[in-house]
Symmetry: C2
Subunit: 506 residues, 2 copies
């Protein structure tokens, strides 16, 4: 217990309440591994004696840690460090080539400015270039979208209701669509009324409105790292700063690092933004107990959780995972998603369940662009009501699972020794850690020359150096041509590539 | 000349450059009417002597006033106060009942906080209530939209290009649509390439992106007064403040008051927002020479002009008026518009020609919602290319002109003596100044009870008291039923209405 007592301030120090200091100290020891998962922490009486604070101060401190989901009380026995599902135990390791994080998971990264958005723009522009093999931007494969049926539905609703389907639709949005979304949310573990949902121009706009609702310029936003570059640029564009929280390729955001970040930046972090299921780019899925712990911890810290569930419907598992919002008892979670990955990106139909920020989000939506396009909402609502969506999802889940696994195997086989690849349980992107000698930005330029676009790792963080040898690959377009392209990319990786562009001669 | 000399600071005073002080002083005298339009201002030599400043300082000051469009040089003769087309001369006055401003045009209003957005939200909600006669929100009459043809076009493009029309479309937006917009801009006096246009979710979003591109929270935005409440709330939602510039019902924004505002808030006004043609709510159209003066003045002051031309296509005149952007030589004008009033509001297809802020606007568009919905853009582009738009416009221009005039006549006949009504040359809204005893907010509540929604004047300003007896009426739904409704409204106006709701017994 010396560790606990050593650096404790004397009672009465005035930087924060005493019980908060005690909780912070014990929390840090848990984060640093001094007390492992399942281990008993010192008894209240003992800690009170060793730290020379009152028993009620320790009780208050432990209650706080319990609220944060970091320790749990066991009747007649004391407090124990909460066991969070360890990633290794959940699934057999994929053996050689499985992705393990090569960044420390225990500490947040300091806020830093993002680089130019130019590369992100190039990737988006690449994505509509029909000459390129699309392993870059995370666009869905149009062959796996139910476009014929969706378009037919759109044609029908505008024919049958020409006037109403062309009128302004104002926030919260088209009621039958909100009813369908509410109905489908049950499978995500969430029971909400249609009135608790606001429709948006895609999940992107949903997140944008949430950030505007809960943050002011200058505020800090905690995000997983690595994270989708589009949202990183959105955050910076809003005059906000990010504090990146390392994520595990399997379990997602590190709760330990998030706790430290909340302690390091007291009162400054105004939102935490997490893609809870099949995160982009890692493919991580936050386990259910960690989702609950995340919700509890942020609720206790009075930091809203903006949850993006864009890929949840694209599970490769038996069942669709629940969302963190399931554990929200106070309206502190703002859940965002869209139909861009499963129905049609160009329709721009998304939604948000903004919890207790509903009024603000509705108002911001109206002042941004009045409302979400009407015929698009009508078509999606009718499509969902027709009942074909679940069958469609079953089909594309199987297909994306197959493609993602096949592409992962190909990368392991065709890329240089030492390459590690994620093994996501949903979605369709792979995260590839190549040997440190590979410069992913140079590889991007080389890849373009052989007709392939990839997403270089450095885009996914304001600390790009740590990801200089990483890339995200889109497995949605897996095909014999893609296999050949990977062979070519693998060869490029074998040769040191200078940033100037040309590979050095062997 | 004593007036000029009297309050001049001594040479060398350090609050601003000396020539700027001289220009400001002379400008104020012009604004206050000491030198009327067409009158000669003092010669350079004389002013130099009276103000005890150098000749070159006066030359510089006069050059500044000339750049601002406030004086003009006449060779061999000196400088004269520029004549701006006086409103009365342009068109015969409509006689009794014609709208004359009952607010001072010469001075800007001090920045003030807007009231709650609740009433604006109610108006928008009213607008989709089929039981109400729509004299409130400025929605177009769906009977005057070419919905059948537009919808057919949409159905065709998604059938013929199912994949491409459903894909993400990124800024600057769908190229064929931008080409059509560029082509049509010629009739507004503007020659731009398609690459100088960015598509948006309506003109509302276009203005939103422009404000984000040129302003930072805390900045001042000069807007006409009265002004469309939706944009006023947008400005406030962005953390900006407005300085309202009185507008004339015929000629629009008062350049004199704008000049004073720029002087009163030096360096603080970061944008000027004007609906240059058939402004909402007054229906004013800025005359061409004033458009040029406005552009020159703002260019000289280094304040971007955000020009909204939403109603320009709905002219009642022989020809479509030009836009202020016509006179933009430096990219300082950001021109916004949409197809919401002439084609289909629910499609949410608008655009902006952002001048020298193109890169910023494109980036902000992408971080807001990735892009404008794709099938919607395709449909509008194809519709415009088909060539039926001009015929459609000719038809609805005639119809809106007829309805607007008829409704104006009815208001003059049916409302209490002393009521004055605008006589717009385009668009479809009327501004009604009732006797001061009428409380427009109470009238709104009373009107709902007889199945009519109107837009109460106080919504249109952060200084609502001056507009407490005013209302905007939408003439797009003019019909025998509307005529009856006006009769009812007229009767309500005759009786003093208490804000509580119930009209007092006679």
């Amino acid at each position: 217990m010396t560790a606990v007592a050593a650096s404790m301030p004397t009672a009465g120090a005035d930087d924060g309440l005493l019980y908060e200091q005690v909780a912070a100290r014990v929390g840090r020891l848990i984060a640093e591994g001094a007390f492992g998962p399942g281990e008993r922490v010192p008894s209240v009486r003992r800690l009170s004696r060793e730290m020379r604070v009152s028993v009620s101060t320790v009780v208050e401190a432990y209650r706080r840690l319990e609220n944060q989901g970091r320790i749990e009380a066991r009747p007649q026995s004391g407090y124990y460090v909460r066991k969070l599902s360890p990633s290794a135990a959940r699934r057999p390791a994929s053996g050689d080539g499985a992705l393990t994080p090569d960044w420390p998971l225990s500490a947040p990264l300091p806020p830093a400015a993002l680089g130019s958005p130019e590369m992100a723009l190039r990737l988006m522009r690449d994505s509509s270039d029909p000459r390129l093999l699309q392993l870059g931007a995370a666009i869905p494969n149009p062959e796996l979208l139910p476009l014929e049926r969706l378009h037919r539905t759109l044609a029908r609703v505008i024919r049958e209701s020409p006037t109403e389907s062309a009128a302004y639709d104002i926030p919260p949005g088209y009621a039958p669509l909100r009813a369908q979304i509410a109905k489908r949310l049950v499978s995500s573990g969430v029971t909400l009324g249609p009135d608790e949902i606001v429709t948006t121009c895609g999940a992107h706009e949903a997140i944008y409105l949430c950030l505007r609702a809960v943050c002011r310029p200058g505020d800090l936003v905690a995000v997983e790292s690595p994270f989708f570059y589009g949202i990183l640029h959105m955050i910076e564009g809003l005059g906000l700063r990010t504090v990146e929280i390392p994520a595990h390729p399997r379990d997602g955001i590190s709760l330990e690092a998030l706790t430290l970040a909340l302690e390091r930046h007291p009162g400054e972090i105004k939102a935490c933004l997490v893609i809870s299921n099949y995160n982009n780019p890692l493919g991580s899925r936050v386990p259910e107990d960690r989702k609950k712990a995340l919700v509890d911890m942020l609720e206790a810290a009075n930091v809203p959780l903006i949850e993006d569930d864009l890929y949840g419907d694209l599970t490769h598992e038996e069942e669709r995972p629940v969302v963190a919002k399931k554990f929200d008892r106070t309206g502190n979670v703002l859940l965002c998603s869209s139909f861009s990955k499963c129905l049609a990106p160009g329709y721009r139909v998304g939604w948000v369940a903004p919890g207790r920020w509903r009024a603000q989000v509705e108002r911001l939506k109206m002042t941004t662009n009045v409302g979400t396009p009407t015929p698009n909402q009508w078509a999606v609502a009718e499509y969902l009501a027709d009942g074909g969506y679940d069958r469609h999802l079953r089909r594309i889940r199987r297909e994306y699972a197959r493609r993602t696994r096949a592409m992962g195997r190909a990368v392991r086989a065709l890329f240089p020794a030492g390459t590690r690849v994620s093994d996501p349980l949903g979605g369709y992107v792979l995260w590839v850690q190549m040997p440190e000698s590979v410069d992913a930005l140079a590889l991007y330029e080389q890849a373009l020359k052989i007709g392939v676009t990839i997403a270089p790792g450095p885009l996914f963080s304001a600390h790009p150096a740590k990801l200089s040898h990483c890339a995200r690959l889109n497995a949605a377009f897996w095909s014999p041509r893609a296999e050949e392209a990977l062979e070519g990319l693998g060869r490029l990786c074998e040769r040191p590539i200078s940033r100037g562009g040309a590979a050095r001669p062997d």
